[in-house]
Amino acid sequence: MLEIENLHVTVDGKEILKGLSLSLPAGEVHAIMGPNGSGKSTLSYLLSGRPGYEITGGSVRFKGEDITEMEPEERAAAGLFLAFQYPVEIPGVANTTFLKEAANAVRTARGQEPYDALKFVKLLRAKTKELGMSDDMLKRAVNSGFSGGEKKRNEMLQMAVLEPSLAILDETDSGLDIDALKTVSDAVNAMRAPDRTFLVITHYQRLLNHIVPDRIHVLAGGRIVRSGGRELAEELEAKGYGEILGAAA
């Protein structure tokens, strides 16, 4: 699904990713853990096409294609989705309008029929119910005045509507209480499928008890320094990054 090889990325002239390699097969859930400033968010923003990230070396292939020159909207149409760590508030744009424009833009680009209004409302109602969201959140402006938990649920709603092949969850667990964490995890688990891959970026093992990953990678200093099975998360939780990084160095 996603092949990253020896990736070097610079932001404002400073190298953040320093030879990162990562392979995500279809249908798997991988987690990336790592200390603050290790480059986790840079990786997720770079993959989704945010301006300001310069690739100075290496390659990124999504479904076999080089995506590094693609616009953010083209990547979304190709099936890439980033659940933001800090979802952006957009006052004045109704959430329903936003979701419908997004879903139909992506469907049109994929050669699918756009949703008709009625069918889309039904779909939204069903998904919001699953996510424990009130209908009111559809009428309000995108993320405006939403609590932390509501924003993350809204990210999951977008994911459900856009049906990506690769979903990157950037610290989706931050700011969530236990109930919201469970809801968000259920939403992800419900979407697990043989043709869909998840990359879960997190600081804490807690999330990985709910979304059980196939593999865990430790990102530090702009590179993957260790990879392993889910037992790696427990080891990290017990020992902290310091010891693991010391051993890897």
Binding site: G49, P72, L82, F84, P91, G92, A102, A105
Partner: protein, 425 residues
């Protein structure tokens, strides 16, 4: 540009001399005196230049207007398409009312054209056209060369509904003079639409809103890039009365609108909002002055701009609070999004306060589209032009919040969407 096409006050005065015999009411001596005096005043003051503080940010008209002539009379004209359902529409073309043949009739509403008034009620006409000795050059041009005017009087306590004045002219000088008077407790919605490829539309309007009366006034400016639009509006708001203005500006190569609102008595209110969506080399100037002359008066002005290419917007907003205007509350905001590096806003909010115990605030901001929000939308598959449009729409939405009439909101919203598609492309 060659010397021959430089337009001066004399160009207009000469035009007046050439046309005066054919103007409405030419046989009335008092009117001839008024027109002569206006023409002379024009020669005395000259066309405004950027040396005048009030015109400081707006480029000289001398090179822009070319040779002046009156707008060509329209041939047989079909009534334009109705702008609003259930509204009474009056079409102006060639500088004159062309449709309907007979003006809309409504009990309690007196609606009269200049020519009819001159014939039937010269005293009223005289009061209306009385020379303003301190009027501007364009007020003088308007009076000297006036071909058409509309006088609207609404009887007390009548809810008169919506009237539309649809002024479409593609060339020449078209002067229009408008006077609206609402008696106590009356209400009226007036929509003015200006369109056409080129020419100079020169509007002078005066509105009086009697005690407890309500006037909603929407202006849709949808002219082409070669058109010039100048207008001066003065509004008198009496006790507990309300003026609600909306400016939808999406066109004209050059437009300048001067609005003076006087809150004359206790409880008088005014709200003036606007959306400027300028492209190309368009220049749009709004110079407003809201005067709080009595206690418990309220005013609110929110003007937003989305400026593309080399467009330039001028916002001069002044609030004056006179002595004795206790508890006056005046708020003014001018916010602009610059969509290109060459677009420009000149914003000059101003407060003049001669009384304590008042609340006034003003603010001006200018910036670019929120890049974070833009990326967020694009990351969801929304193409850049549509993402821009959604953000611009949300930015301008606030200007619509003062309007209560669903039909009006629909009329403006539809135009906003269409215009933003052009600007955001």
């Amino acid at each position: 540009m060659s010397v021959e096409t430089m337009t001066t006050a004399k160009s207009f005065a000469d035009l007046y001399m050439a046309e005066k015999a054919g103007l409405p009411g030419a046989e009335l001596p008092w009117l001839a005196v008024l027109r002569d005096r206006a023409s002379q005043r024009l020669l005395d003051v000259g066309l405004p230049t950027s040396r005048l503080e009030q015109w400081r940010y707006t480029p000289a008209l001398a090179n822009r207007l070319g040779a002046v002539s009156l707008a060509e009379p329209a041939g047989e004209t079909l009534p334009g398409t109705a702008l609003l359902k259930d509204a009474k529409q009056i079409s102006v073309k060639g500088g004159r009312v062309v449709a309907p043949q007979d003006l809309p009739q409504q009990e309690g509403v007196s609606l009269r054209r200049l020519a009819d008034l001159l014939a039937e009620d010269p005293e009223r006409a005289r009061a209306w056209l009385a020379d303003a000795p301190d009027g501007s050059a364009f007020d003088a041009i308007n009076l000297a060369l006036l071909e058409e005017g509309l006088l609207v009087e609404v009887a007390a306590n009548l809810q008169a509904g919506t009237y539309v004045i649809d002024h479409s002219d593609d060339s020449g000088l078209a002067n229009l003079r408008l006077e609206i008077s609402l008696q106590e407790g009356a209400s009226l919605t007036l929509v003015e639409r200006l369109s056409g490829a080129a020419g100079l539309k020169n509007h002078i309007a005066r509105m009086r809103i009697g005690p407890g009366a309500r006037l909603t006034h929407v202006v849709l400016l949808e002219e082409g890039a070669d058109a010039t639009q100048l207008s001066e509006l003065s509004v008198a708001v009496e006790r507990d009365a309300r003026y609600q203005g909306y400016l939808f500006f999406a066109g004209s190569g050059l437009s300048r609108r001067a609005v003076d609102i006087d809150l004359l008595d206790q409880g008088a209110e005014a709200q003036l909002d606007g959306a400027y969506m300028l492209d190309g080399r368009a220049h749009g100037d709004l110079t407003s002055h809201i005067r709080h002359a009595a206690p418990d008066t309220n005013s609110k002005e929110t003007v937003k701009g989305a400026l593309n290419a080399r467009a330039r917007q001028v916002f001069r907003g002044k609030i004056t609070v006179e002595e004795g205007a206790s508890r006056a509350d005046g708020r003014m905001a001018n916010k602009t999004l610059l969509l290109s590096d060459q677009a420009e806003i000149d914003s000059k909010p101003e407060l003049m306060i001669f009384h304590d115990e008042v609340q006034c605030a003003h603010g001006a901001t200018a910036g670019k589209l929120d890049q974070q929000a833009l990326f967020y939308l694009r990351s969801r598959g929304i193409p850049l032009p549509l993402a821009r449009k959604l953000l611009l729409r949300s930015f301008l939405q606030e200007t619509l919040e003062g309007l209560k009439d669903e039909a009006l909101i629909g009329l403006i919203s539809e135009r906003l969407d269409r215009r933003l598609e052009e600007i955001a492309a």
